[in-house]
Symmetry: C2
Subunit: 124 residues, 2 copies
Amino acid sequence: MKALLLVAHGSRRQQSNDEVVLLAEKLRKKCFAQYNIVHAAFLELAEVLIPDGIKKCIDEGASSVIVLPYFLNSGRHVVDDIPNIVNDTIKYHPDVDIRIAPHLGASDLMMDLLMASANSTKTN
Amino acid sequence: MKALLLVAHGSRRQQSNDEVVLLAEKLRKKCFAQYNIVHAAFLELAEVLIPDGIKKCIDEGASSVIVLPYFLNSGRHVVDDIPNIVNDTIKYHPDVDIRIAPHLGASDLMMDLLMASANSTKTN
């Protein structure tokens, strides 16, 4: 079974964390044909943290886990922190294929998303 | 003339700020038919700041400016900080139509972007 772990930074504002969990639920419904298991996890400040999120996917039967960073820029969190945490976690799950997807800002679709957001601006 | 001002948080890491400026340049080329002027600005930690970004658009002839928050979640920056700064700035430009677009996480296209990023994960 394939799993997708949506990883956000985590916020002291619970509503922001709830948005990420809700997004993972929407993603689960949308991509069920491709990813059987979808969960959210956080780099810091919110539960569940990345290692626990990976473990949760594996406990539910995942043989592969794609860690998908919900980040716009290739800052320290994307370049260092998430890879370091994932690499530390991989050791405990040698039989599972765990990979990190590119951050969102790297996608060609970002242009379309930006234009769609600009064009959905409310008029008076 | 219509302007688009892409507003990111701003980082102490110059490479992250450069990514935003580069993204604004790509956006300018892509949406020239719809927005004649496209610039990047930052909430804090980097130049140019939002009021100066809005002024730059107006100095170049914009009669309308859409402020497009390059943020994933509806945190304090999106809900309070950017609207407060934009509202303070509007006073100085009463003849210009200045509006704020929804943040990126609110777009229906976000699902497609997430799936595209997950599926572009490098294989060994």
